[in-house]
Subunit: 375 residues, 2 copies
């Protein structure tokens, strides 16, 4: 219904005379149209792929940020440039320690990353902090978005903080983060932190792109594991009991013992590394160095037994297949005809009117007919 | 190379005179050709879909078996009939208790199923035992294939034992088992056991088609969890410590306490059911009734809180999507052009000569071109 019709409707309604709305005038533009045109022209001056690659290899943070923006863009032309940049940066990537960090909200991940990050840069390392948080679109609450919690690190010239790409499926978000990781490495960052929230499937995605996986926990009343999703503890190469300060010290040390006992129940991972449990205080900056040393021990251990390189190779392969599988699904479920058919088929399956398999095959046949008839 | 050429090759080789092979005469057929023809003619008398559906609903085990053979067949025409049969049986299915059973080899699953099955049929229930064991093709070692371990149950007129479909991917094998389950229910079986080996991904498949998941364990020397894959214990609605007999009783009871403690570390599942740990002896047929009662308690509990029906619906939906996703992958990876391209692309990705994503997209583009050009 247009605005005009709406007004007529109200005017014609005898009981609603008080609601009579005069038709207004159009609002003037909030920006001088000439300036807007000039701004658009300015935007059009784009970097070439060469500019991007050179900028990234020179460690130019502004160019790196713009390249990552292209990686995160959903536009086809941006993706095309992004993929070229990644391809050219690939030979310069791989020379970093990739660390995954997770923990439930409230475990103090931001303050931990601040303390840990400052420790890392103080040793002369260059640190990039990325994130995978597919919930951030909904909640707008990506922890890294809130840089105020990382005041010192945010202004550290040897640190680069990039919030989670906010749009798309988990697979898409994870892919973008892994591509950004490659660009950060090419830009000279030798330590990459990838942060996520310990409440979902995103841990698996992070786990499949890092060398070391750190779980941040806090001491509770015996139910430390309740907050964390099933399976996440089994991925951890180390658990850090955070907030081990003030009146919390005894509780944190007790939690440490409990976690150590629990970890013994799990079979040893193929890395032949037995996960460590440590305590730390992000506020008092205590124990953060131990965590760094543990990561270095782990790298040495897995370098020596060959697991480090094997895993990197397996991860590259994994992402090839994962991208294929995700794209196959994406193409199917985003097909307009399929999208319209699915709700009805789902209802029939739920009501036992159609078997799951027949529903699947009918949808698949329709889909492949679609593909064949497309230009 | 034909046999004739092979012989020529040997005859022409001057150094291998001792190997000279006289060309033999063709072997007579091992079966009288006329009888073979008659047998073939007999085979050609096929049941119609109506025959199958009527036979199944009448509880005719021979017809049920033939229908399951069609379900398991890879032939297109068999699949077509099978799908029609399933569709017609679907309204008569769903009225059974579906129980998944897993445990590492050596835990005594076969003897347990024998004892448990006899208990179930002695109460007047009709029991079907199916299996998912994707390894059976390789090892020819499907436990259910070895019916000699279930002597009593194999001849019980109220029990039907069907070994695991032996060909295909896990997804394919699982799909076939779920379809067979529907036919068994339509044939009047009110208790379905689906058995699998606790060493891989097949547990997830079984878990997604049963109401109750039982893990069979045995007492060991404190490392009870070592044999079982990560994540499987978290799926269990009950753990049965088997072989609690003779000199093993104390150890089994200790193991029971250890498992109970370990289970407390996991968060409660959405069913709001806290997993039970029980001991039993399949040989002495002790504790088997407790396990049956526990399953009944579980069903009552989840009927009342609505979880039972919700989960069945979720499973039907899951299998629709799972079938679609699996078929999309299957079509892609079985495409001949793609099959030939993948090894080279994989090598390039492993050697960092190509990014995982570019490799994926190049393969995908080739694939969709293939699909469009196919008849």
């Amino acid at each position: 219904m247009s605005d005009k019709n709406k007004n007529e409707h109200i005017e014609n309604a005898p009981d609603y005379k008080a609601l009579k709305v005069n038709s207004g005038i159009s609002k003037p533009p909030s920006i001088n149209p000439r300036i807007a045109d000039r701004l658009k022209m300015k935007k059009r001056k784009k970097h070439t792929v060469d500019d991007f690659v050179k900028g990234i290899l020179d460690g130019n943070m502004a160019i790196l940020s713009q390249a990552i923006t292209l990686v995160e863009s959903a536009k086809f032309e941006h993706q095309k440039i992004a993929q070229e940049i990644i391809e050219r940066c690939l030979p310069h990537s791989g020379k970093s320690t990739r660390i995954g960090i997770t923990g439930v909200p409230g475990a103090g991940k931001s303050t931990f990353i601040e303390a840990f990050g400052k420790h890392v840069t103080s040793m002369g390392h260059k640190l990039a902090v990325l994130a995978i948080d597919p919930s951030s679109e909904r909640t707008k609450g990506s922890i890294l978005g809130d840089k105020t919690r990382m005041e010192e690190l945010a202004v550290d010239p040897h640190a680069y903080i990039r919030p989670s790409p906010s749009a798309g499926s988990l697979g898409g978000v994870a892919r973008k983060t892994r591509e950004s990781l490659i660009l950060c490495e090419a830009a000279g960052f030798d330590t990459i932190l990838i942060e996520t929230v310990g409440v979902g499937q995103s841990e698996t995605a992070v786990h499949s792109m890092v060398d070391f996986f750190l779980l941040i926990q806090i001491a509770g009343a015996g139910d430390e594991l309740q907050g964390i999703k099933r399976g996440i503890m089994e991925m951890a190469d180390a658990i850090a009991i955070n907030k081990c300060d003030g009146s919390n010290v005894t509780k944190a040390q007790l939690a440490r013992v409990q976690f150590e006992n629990a970890l013994h129940l799990f079979p040893l991972s193929p890395s032949q590394w037995s996960p460590k449990v440590l305590t730390c205080s992000s506020i008092e900056k205590k124990g953060v160095d131990d965590i760094w040393n543990t990561i270095m021990d782990y790298c040495k251990h897995t370098f020596e037994n060959g697991y480090f390189d094997n895993r990197r190779s397996e991860q590259a392969k994994y992402w090839m297949y994962e991208t294929i599988n995700e794209q196959l699904r994406d193409n199917f479920y985003h097909d307009n005809v399929i999208k319209n058919m699915i709700p009805d088929f789902e209802t029939k399956v739920l009501n036992d009117e159609m078997s799951s398999f027949i529903a699947a095959y009918k949808l698949l046949n329709t889909y492949y007919d679609q593909v064949k008839n497309k230009e």
